[in-house]
Amino acid sequence: MSDLTILLCDDSMLIRKKLRNTLAERGLYNVFEAADGEEAVRVFEAEQPDITFLDIVMPVKDGLQALKEMKQIRSSAYVVIASSVGTQSNIIEALKSGANDFLQKPISANDVTRMIQKMLQEGAIG
């Protein structure tokens, strides 16, 4: 599990820092970050992460558009939408676009661990 590659996409550096710390506490150090949707797609394509945590409201390009582009690049990508805006339309659009799960902020350490375990149980790596 320690060799998992993880991509954190959120325009808040506070959220990225907290998630990175949570992952480090669990021995996960292969962590990449992106602060907007465009950067998220670029890093996703370059690093091929095992799991991506993706915010919706971000500058330049929003998370739902980034999700669609990630799925076009790699349809088997495991992407968890992590947003404070869990409205019905956002959840449905995210699921339709291929999101594997949807977390409502604030996100706890347990949420992150549960998502990674769920991905591993589903054998969705790579």
């Binding site: 506070l14 869990g86 019905q88 959840i91 604030p106 998502m115």
Partner: protein
Amino acid sequence: MFAQLFGQYLLSCGIVSAAELQLGMEAQRHTRPKIGVMAVSEGYMTPDQVAIVHQEQTRVDRRFGEIAVDLGYLSEEQVNAMLAMQLPEHIALGQALIDQEVMNYEDLSFALKQYREANELPIDRLEMIVNGDTDALVEMVISAGAMVGKEAIQYIALFARNVVRFIDSEATLEPVKKDTVTYDWIASQPLMNSNGDVRQTAIGGSRQSMLQLASLFAQETIEETNEWFIASVGEFLNLHNGIYLVNLSDSGKELRMGPQNVDAGSRVAPQIPSYIAARIRGTSFEVDLLVPDLSDLPN
């Protein structure tokens, strides 16, 4: 908000798949209430009792409620109350998933119980704020002299609850006169509808108060108005607005929000021409919440 969060909980725990949740959420809009699902969701009946009533219905041509009353599972008052009740969204979702045979009554009962335990909030404190703030809110609206709808009132009440939940459990809410407001720092975020109409929401305060707010939300000491300060204050407003939009979504109103901004030395009036303000006083800070008239922002 309960339906969305309950749906996310079901998905995250692996009780339903993404495809099943998507179908369930789309089907819930057209779902008609069933007494059995409502009775389990309200805790009036167990899944086993529902199964007994269903079994009985295969023998006799009678309604679910009538049989449940005869068997002593429900009172007539409970049946009438449930028949009169608008179907809550989380129950509609549960029922849609049962109708699609994704879940059974036992699964629903268990998942609701687990969800409530996992998301237990400091109810006493929340109720105190909700019950206690009514007079203050009314007074605030009157003193502001503003024609504001229930949306702004709900927005302020939710903000108070979010401050209690995420920042300071001792925080209180009080009115503030709008002609006195200038701030060292202000965090703002636009809410928008599909027509492109925009309303700015904001939190403003002194440098020291905003630093305290940032530190308490980040759960670490932030002593300078640096990038961490900006990230923390902005993220709290973002979190609050997100929860507000989820609540609106439950009532059929869909708005979007844009990225937040945190600026120094802002004067509010030119940026937010129509607003009311509420002061949130914590143990070590006081900040003002600035709310535009949200009633004229249709879907």
